[in-house]
């Protein structure tokens, strides 16, 4: 039976842990709010971009651009960009991503050496670096100061790999922010750019003037579209991370409350037992004389 002092010490330890998890939950909640606002703020840009692209697509031969072309004999390997987080203590956030990435890598009977990886975030990097993967790009610590220029960097590497023929396709794997309670892992093809829907509300595409030529604009626009998509994925993942961390820390705080209750109950029982024993000793001692 543990001594009273041990029990008291343990309760104190759990309590201080609880204080930490509570503080972390609060921090995650406030960061989540900011991250969510950024996701929302980034939406108009991506939407307008898509609209302009859709307007253009009817004017230009889509096969003319290398970013749209599907390679005929895919001799290159697929490049998979995995967006994880830099930090842990966020429930299944990172392990879900790693698991999904593992599935995707092994899909269609591929072997680890048949794919190239781009790793964003420290947790994913730590996992995949130790295994025999061809890592083409890695970046950690960007989530503290997430900026559009990070997305530009990543998009540049992806485009370079794809247009040079080293990569047959580029996919993004990231946690999508569904709601505070749920994150969903999504696998999203980035390159070649999917055939854009030209049927749906194309708007007045009729008589645009173009300056410069439509082909020129198209050439400029496509990389920016890729950048915007990468940026969106980064923002989503960032928001999802804080949501996951908040939920995890909330659960931890609740668990520690439970543990404290159990321990306190047990401690009281132990104390009671000790008192009872002492009384019995005194009584039996008195009756013996």
């Amino acid at each position: 039976m543990p001594s009273l002092i041990d029990l008291r010490r343990r309760i104190r330890a759990v309590k201080s842990t609880q204080q930490i998890t509570k503080a972390m939950k609060m921090i995650a909640a406030s960061r989540l709010k900011r991250a969510q606002q950024r996701v929302v703020a980034a939406r108009p840009y991506a939407q307008r971009m898509l609209r302009v692209l859709n307007g253009l697509v009817t004017r230009v031969d889509p096969d003319s651009h290398p970013l749209l072309r599907i390679p005929e004999q895919p001799d290159g390997r697929p490049l998979i960009v995995i967006i994880s987080a830099d930090r842990g203590l966020c429930g299944g956030f990172n392990s879900n991503i790693i698991k999904a990435a593992g599935h995707f890598i092994r899909a269609d009977g591929r072997k680890p050496e048949d794919v190239a990886l781009g790793l964003i975030g420290r947790k994913g990097r730590e996992f995949f670096r130790r295994r025999a993967f061809d890592v083409r790009y890695e970046r950690t610590g960007i989530f503290q100061q997430l900026a559009f220029s990070h997305a530009v960097d990543i998009a540049e590497v992806a485009i370079e790999e794809f247009t040079s023929g080293r990569a047959s396709s580029v996919h993004l794997i990231y946690n999508e922010f569904k709601s505070v309670m749920t994150q969903r892992v999504v696998v999203e093809p980035l390159l070649p750019i999917r055939r854009l829907e030209d049927g749906e509300e194309a708007g007045p595409t009729s008589d645009y003037l173009y300056e410069p030529e439509p082909e020129e604009i198209f050439k400029d626009l496509l990389p920016r579209h890729v950048q915007a998509q990468v940026y969106r994925a980064l923002l989503e993942s960032n928001a999802a991370f804080f949501a996951a961390q908040m939920t995890a820390m909330d659960a931890a705080t609740r668990n520690s409350t439970e543990i404290i209750e159990d321990l306190t109950l047990y401690m009281n029982k132990v104390r009671q037992a000790a008192i009872t024993r002492e009384i019995i000793e005194v009584v039996s001692g008195a009756s013996a004389t």
Partner: protein, 139 residues
């Protein structure tokens, strides 16, 4: 069909939507020269360079610095997708000056590899300084 009398101007960057306003006139820094837009303009799609964008509401003119993007013009609206867009009053002149100095130094040193980047940086800083000065003279 009556021509529209106002333009709905929207300026969005990857980070946020900067301007969403009814305006009377806009000037865009097109890649091949400045474009003045009045309500009822023919639909136009243009790439934008580094430059100054201004728009007029009644008698009031607002200035912004823009770097690389696209402008979509319709008879009753103008949409600008810019990588960077800053209002004149938000520009940090000190930083822009410092950036200009740095870029000029790099250009003078003549390191071939970075010359394009330095030139773009120089242009951006010059535009920022110019746009910022507009904000000051107006007050």
């Amino acid at each position: 069909m009556a021509l529209p009398t106002k333009l709905l101007l929207e300026i969005v960057t990857p980070d946020r939507s900067l301007v969403h306003e009814e305006v009377d006139e806009v000037q865009l820094p097109g890649a091949e020269g400045y474009l003045g837009v009045l309500p009822g303009h023919t639909p136009l799609l243009a790439t934008l360079g580094v430059g100054e964008l201004w728009y007029r509401v009644e008698q009031e003119t607002h200035y912004l610095a823009i770097a690389s993007g696209f402008g979509e013009v319709l008879p009753d609206s103008v949409t600008v997708l810019a990588q960077i867009a800053e209002r004149a009053q938000d520009i940090d002149v000190g930083r822009a000056e410092a950036a200009r100095k740095r870029a000029e130094e790099r250009l003078n040193k003549n390191v071939d590899a970075d010359i394009d980047r330095a030139r773009i940086a120089l242009m951006k800083s010059l535009i920022r300084i110019q746009v910022a000065s507009r904000a000051r003279t107006k007050v």
